[in-house]
Symmetry: C2
Subunit: 359 residues, 2 copies
């Protein structure tokens, strides 16, 4: 029971409702406000007995609305709750902070922005609405916290504490560094997935796992992404011009040996920077490909055998071939475990192939 | 025992050696030739008793050398084995066929190219060398067959038969259609993965599964890809200019609402064309996210529970958050199975969240 969490959430979408549900499970009190009265009623019914009564002032306000409207909502929350901490959860930070500062100077020129802490959880991209809200949505996720120069240290500590209570890992960085990172790690991949998918024409019988991986993001919701792209367009435009330039060089040099070698070497160097599991040294696993029949229980049998061999699977993915009633699964393990697992699976009747020995 | 397979493989790399091993297991006789005598000796030792004696003529020659040298090797094989079928397994088809035709007209102007069948297995991209060669490498894979106007019908039938014996599914299409398809499904994704990875700079703490999926291909071998890109540069340049144009429109319109909406809608339409499992209707699965502890046996327990619930997992992937000792796994199932599985996993103590309800 921790009565220190007296929370008001503004915006009853996936993120807002999930935060509310988690606050309720850790003994806090919480209420949700939403511009749509029906959404607000349903969301608050989910909270049940942990509902924060309307006459109790919140000590924390979470603004969970789209980034194009959040500056206004944040300033209104700061005005209405002068002693509360206000955090937002938007996907971009520099432009929102700038807009909040400008608005705040107009409304309250004498008071610093000490109670406002911008944050951004790396969760919930797959689903926009509140339907999938769950108290454990943030379990195992990274959560950026981007303090600015006026934030009070108690407010910062409270934000870090909240992120931990919600099950996520806090990462402190500046708003500019955040926007630069998400432009690279999230916005540019999103754009390139859409651009690639946009040139696809049927038939695509020869498509494999590579194309599926590269186009998965292209099914995302344009309404959610548009304000994000627009607000982060400076970072994005810079990255897109670099991408463009590297591709133009290839084309102009007719994909000759030197051009492709330098282009792909640069790419391999970048790919090696992408964090693997637990933020550790990436891509140092060995990989096995195993043929699996398409039937309930086949994966269970396979993973039971992996467990029998006492080997931890670090990563995996399924690859399907069109028109076949079997699939292939790639299992990544520590390089030292690779031949043990390969041999053990063979004795158990699996067809397994070493794809990559790891470093 | 099928003595009809008397096979010579030219090129003892991953594909060539894997074909040889499979031919040996189905009762055929096979020998491998390689420009490197040490490679040739080792590869032929793997074949053992199924080795085709050097004084026996092959009825099938498989040319498994890089695409920049294959036309010469193909024509030499056709000259040396006038009654045998010759197939290649190269990643591009139009330019190789053109070069073969030109060379062949010079060498043998009176004889048609009736014995030459171009093919391309969708396998082995992950590993270039012969180390990973396995008789079941092609199990569950698509294998393109691109007959030209001079191919004999018996030669075509033999090629289809071979692909089936190797465990793959044959797809018949024209060389032009093949090159157009692989430009979209393989070469362009490869280029965009390298281009994206090429602009990445550390730190990348906020990176998630999306970036890992989008940069996985960027670790591929430039030496293998360069001749492929160069030979297919017409298709590739066309696609790259479309990609470029769609991105330039976004930038020029400052990522405004209409521009992003039209760009992403086009992308979503393309993504929906990517074949899912068994070439069936793609992306109609529901998806659950489940928190998994990082310990041997955790996946086995999870898939045992899925099997207890009699539910077939159609697709899955692991997502890791940096710095956390847990991971998230996404399980895709038929939409009708989604709530059954979600409820059952909850009763078994798993934290599972519906990410996507499917169609």
């Amino acid at each position: 029971m921790s009565e220190k969490w007296l929370v008001e959430i503004i915006g009853g979408g996936l993120i807002g409702t999930s935060i509310a549900l988690k606050i309720a499970t850790i003994g806090g009190k919480v209420r949700i406000k939403d511009a749509n009265p029906a959404h607000e009623r349903v969301a608050n019914e989910l909270i049940g007995e942990a509902l924060l009564p309307s006459d109790v002032e919140p000590s924390l306000v979470v603004v969970a609305v789209p980034v194009d409207t959040s500056p206004t909502v944040i300033c209104r929350a700061l005005m209405s709750n002068p002693s509360a901490t206000v955090i937002d959860i938007g996907s971009i930070k520099t432009k929102v902070l700038l807009d909040v500062k400008t608005l705040w100077r107009e409304k309250s020129p004498e008071r610093p922005l000490s109670n406002f802490l911008p944050t951004h959880p790396m969760a919930g991209r797959e689903l926009a609405g509140p339907d999938g809200a769950r108290s454990d949505l943030f379990e195992g996720r990274a959560w950026a916290i981007t303090p600015h120069d006026e934030v009070d240290s108690d407010v910062l500590a409270l934000g870090q504490n909240l992120v931990g209570e919600l099950g996520a890992t806090p990462y402190l960085l500046s708003p500019e560094e955040h926007d630069r990172q998400v432009a690279m790690t999230s916005h540019l991949p999103q754009l390139l997935a859409s651009a690639l998918a946009g040139v696809l024409d049927e038939p695509l019988d020869l498509a494999g796992a590579g194309l599926r991986d590269m186009t998965r993001l292209a099914s995302s919701d344009p309404a959610m992404w548009q304000p994000i792209f627009e607000a982060n367009q400076n970072e994005l435009t810079l990255l897109l011009s670099k991408v463009n330039e590297s591709i133009n060089q290839l084309v102009n040099q007719h994909f000759n040996r030197d051009a492709v070698l330098s282009f792909m070497t640069q790419g391999a160097r970048g790919a090696a920077r992408v964090p693997g599991k637990h933020g550790g040294v990436p891509r140092n696993y060995g990989t096995l490909s195993v043929v699996i029949p398409d039937a309930p229980g086949a994966l269970a049998r396979l993973f039971n055998h992996c467990a029998d061999a006492k080997i931890n699977i670090e990563d995996l993915r399924i690859e399907h071939s069109p028109g076949q009633e079997t699939g292939l699964i790639s299992l990544s393990v520590k390089p030292g475990d690779l031949s043990t697992l390969n041999n053990y699976l063979s004795t158990q009747g699996w067809h397994s192939t070493v794809l990559n020995k790891g470093n």
